[in-house]
Amino acid sequence: MFLNETQEEVRSTTRSFVNDVVRPAAEALDREERFPAEIYDEMGKLGLFGIAVPEELGGPGFDTLTYAVVMEELSRGYACVADQCGLVELISTLLVRHGTPEQRKMLPDVMAMKRKVAYCITEPEAGTDVSGIRTTAVRDGDGWVLNGGKIWIHNAPVADTGFVLARTDKEAGNRGMSIFIVDLHAKGVERGPKEHKMGQRASQVGALDFQDVRLGPDALLGEMNRGFHMMLSVLDKGRVGIAALAVGIAQAGLEAAVDYAGTRKQFCKHISEFQGVQWLLADMAKDIEAARLLVYSAAMKIDRGLDATRACSMAKCFAGDIAVARTADAVQVFGGSGYIRGFEVERLYRDAKITQIYEGTNQIQRMIIARELLRKGASA
C-alpha cells in the first residue's frame, strides 16, 4: 500500500531469491558459522549490494525506502545476509558522498563482493562513546602512520579493505577524528580470531590490530578531522537498515508460528484454536506491522530530505525491542520444539538480540528520542 510499483517489484524479486536461496541455507550457515561467499556472489550479480549507488556509478540508484524493503526481505531469509547488505550500503554511501573519483573506482568490486569491506569504529574502550577511540593516524611525509586496535568488527576475519576511524588531532575531541581507507592485507595489520556469537553466527566478526601501518596520501576519505561527522551523516540510514532487518527477523518468526499453530494438535485440536495461542499471534502481527510502518516513515523522511533523526531512532529502537519480544513469542508457540536447535524460531530468537545493541544501543536510541523531543518539541 505504501510502496510504488518499482518498490513492489524489487520486493517480489528479492523475496523469490530469498525463498529459493537464502532461507533454506540459513540453518546450516548458523550451525557452521560459515561466510556464505556463494550467496554473496549471486547477490552481487543481482544488484543487491549498494542499493542507493547512483546509476552513473554503476548502481541501481534506489531510494532509502527501497533499501529498507530489501533489508526486510533479506533478513526474513537470514539476518546475516541482510547485515552484509547493510554494511556494503554504508560503505558505498560514504564512498559516493565523500570519495574522490579515484577512491570511487573500487565501488564496482565492493558491490560485487569481490572486495570485502569492514567499517571499523568500535574499540575496547570506545563502544557507545565513540569519542573515546585511541587509534591514531599521525602525519608522516605525504601520508600517515596508523596505530591502534578495533574490536567486534563485522567482516574483520575476511575483509580486504577497512574504513577506519582514527584520531588525527588529540586536542580537538569530536572534531579531531578522520576516516581512512586501509588495505587490510598490508604490513602491520593483524587480525584477531573469529568471535563465536550468540546469534547471526554466519557473520564473521573479530578484532583488527594496526601497528605502524603506512597509509598513502590517497587513504584519507573526505575531509581531514571530519570523520566523526561523516560517520554521523550515515547513521540515520544505518538505523533504518537495522530496523528493517529486525522487522524481517520478526516477520520470519510470525510466519513460522502461524504455520506451526495450524498444524500442531493438542487436545484433539489445532493449537491455533486456543485463544491463548491466538493472542500470541495477534500481538506478534500488530507489533511487526507497527515496526514496519515506523521503518517506512523514517525511510520516507530521509528520502524527502526531512529531519529524520527522531524517526530513525524510534524505528531502530522499537523494531529491535519487538524483534526480541516477538521471536520469544514464536518460540512459545512452538513449545519445546522452539527451544531445540534446527527449528528456525530458535535461531531467530538468538539472531534478534543484537538488533538492540549494534548501530547504537536501544538505550542510546531512547536518549536521542528524548533529546530531540526536548529540543524540538513534542509535535509529530
Binding site: 510499483e5 518499482t6 513492489e8 517489484e9 524489487v10 517480489s12 524479486t13 523469490s16 531469491f17 550479480k45 543481482l46 544488484g47 543487491l48 542499493i51 546509476e55 548502481g59 541501481p60 540508484g61 534506489f62 530489501v70
Partner: protein, 253 residues
C-alpha cells in the same frame, strides 16, 4: 530471428485464491498479481536464445487491463527488447477467452512477423491450455507443445516434448509456435539495476478496437465453487477391517 512471447497477468501463485461471494468467479481485486509462471519460462527461453546469438529481438505482448503494464515492465527487466500492451478491457474481472486471444495474437504476428512464438502451455488461473494451439491453427503454423527443450536448427526448431512414457522430439519448420512446460528452464531472478532501466523504456499500446477482432465471449460461467473440503480420515483397528473397507466401501479391491 525475432521471437514473440505472449504473457498473461494472473493471480500470483503464492496467493490463496478465494471465490467471490456471488460465485461469479474468484477474487481478483486487491490481490497480488504477477506474470503467469509458464510465460516466465517462455520469456526466459527467448532471452537465452537471444543471449546465445540465435535470436535478434524478443518482443513481449500482453492483452488485458492497463495494470498489465506492471507485468510488461517485469518482462523488460528480464530482458525483453520491446513490449506491446493490447488494451482489451478496464475490468480486472473480465477474462478474455483463448479463441479471442489467439485471434488478437495472430494480428500482432501479422504486424511483427516473428519467426517463432514461444508461449506458456497454460495460464495458472483458468488452466485452459488452448491459446498456443489455437494461435498455430489461426496462422497455419506448426506447433510444438509441452516443450522441455528447444533448439534452433537451420530454419527449423527442434522441440523435445514430455509425453507419457518418455520424451518425443519434433522438428518443426519455422515459423512455428512452441508452448513451454515446467522443466524447460529456471527463469532468472530480475536484477535490481535492470528494474530501474526497464522503467525508462516505453510500452507500445494498441487499442483492441483498432485490430478489428471479434472478441465476444463464447463461454458462460455458470458457477464457481470452492474445492470440496477434505474429509477427515478413518482409523482402522485391524488389517481385516482395512481389507473389508477397501473392498466394500471404497470398492478398490
Amino acid at each position: 530471428m525475432k521471437i514473440l512471447v505472449p504473457v498473461k497477468r494472473v493471480v500470483d501463485y503464492n496467493v490463496r485464491v478465494r471465490v467471490r461471494p456471488d460465485g461469479s468467479g474468484v477474487e481478483l481485486s486487491n490481490v497480488k498479481m504477477s506474470m503467469n509462471p509458464f510465460d516466465e519460462i517462455a520469456l526466459e527461453e527467448a532471452v537465452r536464445l537471444k543471449e546465445k546469438g540465435v535470436a535478434t529481438e524478443v518482443v513481449v505482448v500482453s492483452i488485458g487491463v492497463p495494470q498489465v503494464k506492471d507485468t510488461l515492465r517485469t518482462a523488460l527487466a528480464m530482458g525483453a527488447d520491446r513490449t506491446i500492451l493490447v488494451h482489451a478491457t478496464d475490468d480486472v474481472n473480465q477474462d478474455i477467452e483463448p479463441l479471442a486471444i489467439a485471434k488478437i495474437l495472430a494480428k500482432i504476428v501479422d504486424a511483427e512477423k516473428p519467426q517463432l512464438v514461444i508461449a506458456g502451455k497454460q495460464a495458472i488461473d483458468n488452466d485452459m491450455n488452448a491459446t498456443g494451439q489455437m494461435l498455430a491453427a489461426a496462422l497455419g503454423w506448426g506447433q510444438g507443445t509441452y516443450a522441455s527443450a528447444v533448439e534452433i536448427d537451420e530454419g527449423a526448431v527442434l522441440v523435445t516434448r514430455e509425453v507419457d512414457g518418455g520424451l518425443q522430439t519434433l522438428r518443426l519448420k519455422l515459423p512455428a509456435v512452441v508452448t513451454t512446460d515446467l522443466r524447460l528452464n529456471q527463469p532468472r531472478y530480475v536484477a535490481l539495476p535492470a528494474i530501474m532501466k526497464a522503467r525508462k523504456k516505453t510500452i507500445e499500446e494498441i487499442d483492441l478496437a483498432a485490430l478489428g477482432v471479434d472478441s465476444a465471449p463464447r463461454l458462460t460461467v455458470l458457477s464457481t465453487v470452492e474445492p470440496a473440503k477434505r474429509q477427515a480420515g478413518v482409523k482402522v483397528h485391524s488389517v481385516d477391517e482395512l481389507i473389508s473397507k477397501l473392498k466394500n466401501e471404497a470398492g478398490v479391491l
